[in-house]
Amino acid sequence: MTAEMNLTIDGLQVDIQDEKNILEVIRKAHIELPTFCYHSELSVYGACRLCMVEVEGRGLVAACSTAPEPGMKLRTQTPQVRELRKMNIELLLASGNHDCPTCGKSGSCKLQSLAERLGVTKIRFKAPIPERPLDTSSPSILRDPSKCILCGDCVRFCDEIQGIGAIGFTHRGSEATVAPAFNKGIAEVDCVNCGQCAAVCPVGAITVKSDIEQVFAALGDPAKTVIVQVAPAVRSAIGEAFGLPNDTFSTMGRIVSALRRLGFHKVYDTSFTADLTIWEEATEFLQRKEKGGKLPLFTSCCPAWVKLVEHDLPEILDNLSSCRSPQAMFGSLAKEILPGKLGVKREDLVVVSVMPCTAKKFEATRPELGQVGAPDTDLVITTQELARMIQDAGLVFEELPVESLDMPFGFKTGAGVIFANSGGVSEAVVRYVAGQLGEESPAIRELRSDRSRRTLELPTRLGPVRIGVVYGLAEAQRLVKEIQAGESDLDFVEVMACPGGCIGGAGQPVTHSDKVRGQRTQAIRRVDAALDLHCPQENHYVKEIYSERLETPNSHQAHHLLHTHYQSRRRIQGEGISLSEVTGVPKIPVSFCVGTACHLRGAEVLLKKVMACVEEEDLGERFDVRATFCMEACDRGPTVKVDDIVLHGATVESVMGLIREVLVEKVE
């Protein structure tokens, strides 16, 4: 180590390695500089101005956006710097509704802890605070703009890591806000409910929607029998809320015990239906591979990923596995089987799930997953919410006895548990198809790597199977584009929205530490290792389900209970943008697709010509010409719909001909 590669922090020499900025060097020196807007995974924003330090010869600089230089002399604690930090916190406290005791983020809020840490004890600023109403439109997250400090972490995460950008900065100056487009409710735009915005928000501006009171209400209702499924990832992280190490084996047993004491009638494990999912999905995959069906097959257990496909990639909807997620399969089976088994009426059975995930709250509301007014999964709470319920009930988690899960839905193999990790679903499929490979095998090493994208090739009796694993939806979209461009040749792709997979879900106790995520991942692997069985095909309770009810995977019955379908949620569709001048009289719609592919085939020229013809033939009163996006016949455009008849490869003649035909029919 040469003497040149270091700098001085408050008089102490610290070496520089490959840190991108002096903030990271300062953290290395065990000084936790306060920040709001700095995130090692996100682009540097430099807005909160809390991390200012003094550099000799340069004055005050923001540590997050200044590169370390050898010989720099930094001071992190000068009177000026301290005053600046306190002033910033005071200004933030004066800028919104920061009433701590009634805020859901109290106790884990960065603004609160910094105010305390820096000794900000009065707010001297009195400019009026604008009214900013709550956004309660989403089942997964709750937005409270009156608490927003405009750090932009949510904006950058949604944009850079998820590649969606459902939420952004609006307006300017003190009118600036963070909001969805046109200030709509977050559920009215392309949000996929991944909840990472809530996970990354340092204050209470975006939080996970709480369903705790509804669960307590169900538990307190003597007419209801409430059962619960616990997702694998929950056990890897809930201990963090109680000061327990992630890999404590007794955590799951304590979760069971806590849930029973809260009043749940039966406690089950989602890992059971995870095993079941593999039976269905692996079979579906092998069928497609053998019979030349749509490949690659994309996993469908991540509801955020599914919604993204519905919004932005409907052309690959057919590539998604038609299998429901483990949560959804559980709800479906539970409502089908348990009333008989437990001797209760179907409508009195309440299925609650505990998930690391906020999108699962949305998934439970999907109309396909249940009957009208009676969803398969009634309520979803997150790991954090369960921890709260445990605290609410006064249970001392760390001292609870260890209890076992109820059967048969509490039974699983290790394959079901590893769903919690990114790469776990794929590994479970591999175990089903090729048996358990050793940890040292290249395939398993690749699957278990922590990179956001991995690909591997597995030799099977059907030939080589190419598997891709991604986490983070921006990365997933990039991969899809490569596949569509023919640059990537994969058979099976696992997509998870959250960093590291479900263990990094937004419902988990908040962390931004790779180390903590790594610990959760390891904890899951240890559970897998400690179980008796590791391959889904070994789960005899699952076998029983087939022999008793479903016959074989992908059977008609299996499809009815365990599979689903998806819907296109394109931004501009259906109604389109109506183009005619005159209003009032109900008209026959003529819709022109102006999506890119049709555009390239001359859709708008066609539109203009047809409009001209319509006017010439004086049909403007009867027909309502519209532009719409996209009728998903991209290879057969231009596509035009007259009334409800679709024309592909449309020309002026064919469109006008159809218009005249339809007019004749309508007249008659």
């Binding site: 430099g46 101005r49 200012m52 956006s65 600046l84 002033m87 001297r124």
Partner: protein, 635 residues
């Protein structure tokens, strides 16, 4: 794509132009800067053209006339001639006449008397208010004689839409020299030797900025011209862009050659539609003639230019915010470093220069660095344009060498201070705000300070972009500070906490002061906040936002204290601290005031005392003007 590049002969274009121009006996230039346009310059132009025809005088409006023979004159619209208070302006050469306040009805007389008769129309000449001296033109009007119009020299005297005239006056010779005779290092060194410092406010040595960009690895580089002059009351850059757009283009080309760029953008505020239009036309003309495009002057140097309009955000004058805007994003600044020289537009090395800076470049290259150094001061060579506005007799656009004093500018060029009723009253001098919302104020004690970058920074002010607002004794300095803070607050991008929240709270405190709600804690809190906003903000907007407050607090603390402690506004401008009243002993109940009041705030019966409802009164003063009995006070 120019096939003329190889054959581009500037001299020939120039001599061809002169040959035709010299056949016009006179040159009439009508100022068509935005100010004079608002005053009806176009109507004057049209009237002049038509009346000349009617009187049988051959007045051409461009040099594209076919027939041979001489003409009586060439009529041109120019950019801002600077003497805005006196517009619409018409100059006539070679007579050296400047007619002021010209109306369409005047042109018949001008043509008869001056064109035919060779006489002056005295009533249209400028009279020095203090002495009554009648001035013929630029040669003896003190406003002009005291200036050193260098960058602005061509602005008011040539047709900004005729590239041939620009060339005839030596235009584009600079870039030709740069391309054919100089290396990129030479060009940068020339700039460095000249001592040119950025005219947008930063004052950074231009040569050094270019050199820092030049040494970046070869590849895509950009030149960007910052025409987003947003300071209220500043219109220097606008005048250069309207009056001599080719100078800006040439400056950018030279910069491009110096650093290795092949593409550029001119970013102009949308509030300057004339500047945008003239720049676009100038770019087109330069492309047609072969100056812009590929293989310029037959070399391997290519350059193309796009003009982009801003969309109403002052913060886009900050360089990284400007770049974000060009990239299609919200104009929010980015932390520096990295500086644009290393990583600018789309991450590529970019030079961003102010309009005036760029317009100076061709002159430096043509006349040489020593010529530039000879003007101004040692550390701030050259000249600076200023927009002189406010309570001064001659408002307008001026240019002086650095080192000129405030006294020279305000009293000699500006013609002195105007008092409350508009008459000259040099005792009424209170302060001059320099540098707009980022600047500070200068008072009597600074009148003889030689103005340049460093001398102003040393007293807590700054040159800024060059806006100079003169204020007389009737101005409340607290309100001025509040006006600038309102502006800054409105324009803050909202990204960083100190600026977004700090300026909002500073404005609230200033509002408290002017509305009579201030307490003992207000001033210390305001100062503490100002200090922190200055230190903590991300970009120049926030860092300089507190300057007007800090400067006025320093120079006029007593005024602040009067507002705070005695709840009195010494200048009687803060309406909340002044109550309007109808004096009972004077009111005759004529109801005139009540009828004139636009918001119905005055009530009263005929022949009885009228009263003003203070809550409805907007203090517009119409009633005071209307009352024949001087019965209303307090407004």
């Amino acid at each position: 794509m120019s096939t003329v590049a190889m054959d581009l002969n500037l001299e020939k274009i120039g001599t061809d132009y002169d040959a035709v121009a010299s056949r016009c006996a006179r040159r009439v230039v009508i100022c068509a800067g935005t100010g004079c346009m608002a005053g009806g310059a176009l109507k004057v132009f049209k009237a002049m053209h038509e009346e000349a025809k009617a009187q049988g005088i051959s007045l051409e409006i461009n040099l594209d006339f076919e027939e041979t023979g001489d003409r009586d004159g060439l009529l041109t619209k120019s950019g801002c001639q600077g003497f805005c208070q006196m517009g619409p302006l018409m100059s006539i050469e070679p007579d050296g006449i400047l007619y002021c306040g010209v109306k369409p009805a005047d042109v018949a007389e001008i043509l008869r008397k001056t064109f035919r008769g060779g006489e002056l129309v005295e009533r249209l000449l400028y009279k020095v208010p203090a002495t009554g001296q009648v001035c013929k033109g630029h040669g003896d009007i003190p406003f002009y004689t005291q200036q050193k119009r260098t960058v602005l020299a061509a602005c008011g005297s040539m047709d900004p839409e005729d590239v041939r005239e620009y060339i005839a006056r030596g235009g584009y010779a600079g870039i030709r020299k740069a391309v054919l005779e100089m290396s990129d290092e030479d060009i940068c060194k020339s700039m460095l030797d000249s001592g040119l410092r950025g005219r947008g406010g930063g004052g950074f040595p231009t040569g050094r900025k270019w050199d820092l960009t030049r040494i970046q690895p070869k590849g895509k580089k950009y030149i960007v011209c910052n025409g987003d002059e947003g300071d209220p009351g500043a219109f220097m850059d606008r005048s250069v862009m309207e009056g001599n757009p080719h100078a800006v283009i040439e400056g950018m080309m030279i910069a491009a050659r110096a650093v290795g760029a092949d593409e550029g953008y001119v970013y102009v505020r949308a509030e300057y539609p004339l500047a945008v239009a003239r720049l676009r036309r100038a770019v087109k003309a330069a492309e047609e003639i072969g100056i812009l495009g590929e293989a310029i002057f037959g070399s391997d140097f290519s350059f193309r230019l796009q003009v982009m309009e801003g969309a109403g955000a002052f913060v886009c004058g900050e360089e990284t915010a400007l770049l974000a805007s060009i990239e299609g994003k919200r104009g929010m600044p980015m932390p520096k470093p990295p500086f644009p020289a290393q990583s600018g537009l789309w991450g590529k090395p970019t030079v961003i220069n102010n309009v005036e800076t760029l317009a100076s470049v061709p002159l430096i290259l043509s006349h040489g660095p020593a010529w530039y150094r000879a003007m101004g001061t040692a550390k701030s060579p050259g000249t600076k344009t200023f927009a002189l506005t406010g309570h001064v007799a001659n408002t307008g656009l001026i240019e002086v060498p650095f080192g000129a004093t405030l006294r020279q500018i305000v009293f000699e060029i500006g013609g002195g201070i105007t008092g409350k009723d508009g008459a000259i009253d040099n005792d009424a001098f209170k302060a001059v705000q320099i540098g707009g919302p980022s600047g500070g104020c200068l008072t009597r004690e600074h009148l003889d300070l030689p103005m340049d970058f460093d001398s102003l920074t040393s007293i807590g002010a700054m040159v800024g972009s060059g806006g100079l607002v003169v204020m007389n004794q009737s101005t409340c300095m607290v309100r001025i500070a509040k006006f600038f803070m309102q502006f800054t607050q409105n324009e803050s991008c909202g990204k960083c906490v100190p600026c977004r929240e700090g300026t909002k709270q500073m404005l609230q405190l200033l509002d408290d002061i002017t509305e009579g709600r201030a307490t003992e804690e207000t001033l210390p809190l305001l100062e503490q906040l100002a200090r922190n906003v200055k230190l903590g903000s991300l970009c120049g907007l926030g860092k300089t936002a507190p300057n007007p407050v800090l400067s006025t607090l320093k120079q006029f603390r007593a005024e602040y204290e009067a507002h705070v402690h005695r709840k009195v506004c010494p200048s009687r401008e803060c309406k909340a601290l002044v109550t309007p009243e109808i004096k009972a002993d004077r009111c005759k109940g004529c109801t005139l005031c009540a009828r004139k009041c636009p918001v119905g705030a005055i009530e009263g019966e005929r022949k009885a005392l009228h009263t003003i409802d203070a809550s409805k009164c907007i203090r517009c003063g119409v009633c005071v003007e209307a009352c024949k009995f001087n019965a209303i006070s307090g407004i």
